[in-house]
Amino acid sequence: MIRFLLKGILRDKSRSLLPIIVVSLGVALTVFYSGFLEGVMGDIIRQNARFETGHVKVITKAYGKNKDQLPIDLALLDVNSLVQSLENQFSDMDWVKRIRFGGLIDVPDENGETKGQRPATGLALELFSEQSKEAERLDIQNALVSGSIPDESGEALVSYEFADKMDVQIGDEITYFGSTMYGSMALTNFTVSGTIRFGIAAMDQGALIVDISDAQKMLDMQDGSTEILGFLSSGVYDNEVATNVMENFNAKYADSSDEFASVMVRLRDQNNLAGMLDYVDLASGLFIGIFVLAMSVVLWNTGLIAGLRRYKEFGIRLALGEAKGEIYRSMIYEAVLIGVIGSVFGTAIGLGLTYYMQTVGLDIGQFLDNAGVMMPITMRAKITPSLFYIGFIPGLLAMVFGNMLAGFGIYKRETATLFKELEV
């Protein structure tokens, strides 16, 4: 019977073409929208994790309350033993120390006089250690515009934009002005070993990247760091696992009133990501819901028109001995077949659009000139396994639902008038 129905669908274009077009369009948009959201949100999450939040982050309670001010005086101390303890307790995770600091970069001219100054956001991480995956995690090699990654003390990377505006060349000396952990003045010269562009507005505006040992010396914070980031071994943020790790860690310090006690926070609790993640879930669900509803209404009407056009056919089938319920079921089977065909086409179109947007992307750099949000300059979609089936949900649901509504008319048909109806 299914094969028989399929033949009818394929041969009768007026029965199948419009529904297939409607389903294909809806599914294509759903797939593309989901792929775009996945891509953009995935990038945002990954970049936040890589550069700022980790999958979990350990800080002091006091630092957490004032973190926007980058208060290095509230940093963690005795971090080597803390990292060791974290590695023992959560051995399948990667734990790294980082220092985030703010300050001023002074660029001298050939006479040693100030040529220009700009505020900078400093990031110190383990660049010299051979075991460290930090350079790889931040993909510094690919982000290098010129020069190389620092491999000895006193070298630094500066953002390409900064170097371009201040006319800083590789090998030039720059001076960092700031304050140490204990409030005294910090003044350190660095040699620019390379320039970088991460494609993230917040990082490309004025970043200074140095090895953590240089930063500890410069900021007078031996065995200290502002934060310890933890990364799950899969490399992908898993809220459930991160929550377990956080709860286990924080249980130890739950009763502590010490403002310098360590506290762990998850990725979703930082940088307003919780709201963003919830919004994306909601928007995604809402989008699919609206599509199911809108397509159902369109397909309901299409089904009603098809029902009128096939009035005679259903009459013949009733006369031949097909029960109303069987005809209704066959209409649903047809809807499933059309839904599947439309969903296959729609998914292919949606994946094509997603692939295009994954490859080319959408440049929003001009809107992020002063953005502090860790967001990629180029928004890219991403093809994920879920995109291969997600469109089938609205495609099939709308088609079946629309036809279920339209098909109720068959139950109102009076068999007693069939002879008269079929005479015409």
Binding site: K7, I316, R317, A319, G321, E322, A323, F419, L422, E423
Partner: protein, 238 residues
Amino acid sequence: MDSEHIIQLEHVTKKFPVGDGRHFTALKDINLTFDKAEFAGLVGPSGSGKTTLLNIIGSLDSPTEGKAMVLGKNIAELSHKESAHLRNIHIGFIFQVYNLLPVYTVFENVEFALLLQNIGESERKKAAMEALEWVGLQDLADKKPDKISGGEGQRVAIARAIVKRPSIMLADEPTANLDAKNAHQIMKILKGLNKELDTTFLFSTHDEKVMQYLDRTISLRDGKVEKDKTTNESNKLS
């Protein structure tokens, strides 16, 4: 009920509401029986009750009063599903208009009747081809209904009705849209099938060409049986 009669109508009356609590009586106290392999026709002017009677015998409608027994089943007591099952297995219909499904081929239109009985593919194909051979259309099996003539279309409709080898065939003005040559050809085919398969044929007609072939003619007027005449063999075409 006499087991010889495959259709037995006892005091069958059918009334249709026409509004204001009033009724139109289409059939009045009909008492008829039909036996296996009969070739009978209901004749009479429009509104005489021919189609209403076919509806009741074909389990498309039920009597308001009286009892209509078809193949031992009381039509009034059948559910919609049971009525559909009775038509599906035991009753074939031939309409004035051929009513073929336009998107399917001649062969598929005939096969469809067997598909509803969940018959296996190989048996289905064999039976469908055999039915097309009965009506002489095996060469048109792959044609679509819009590519065949009116007479051929009616022969396909006959093949579709007969393919399931029903006990009863109900034909409502089967030659109304055909010229004389095709009408005779159709009637000869039906007569041949009646003899070969022992199927009971019941026509509704006012076409003289059909009447010539009937073994029994039941005249209806104003919902009543006016005359029930068995045709003399010498006057009958075969």
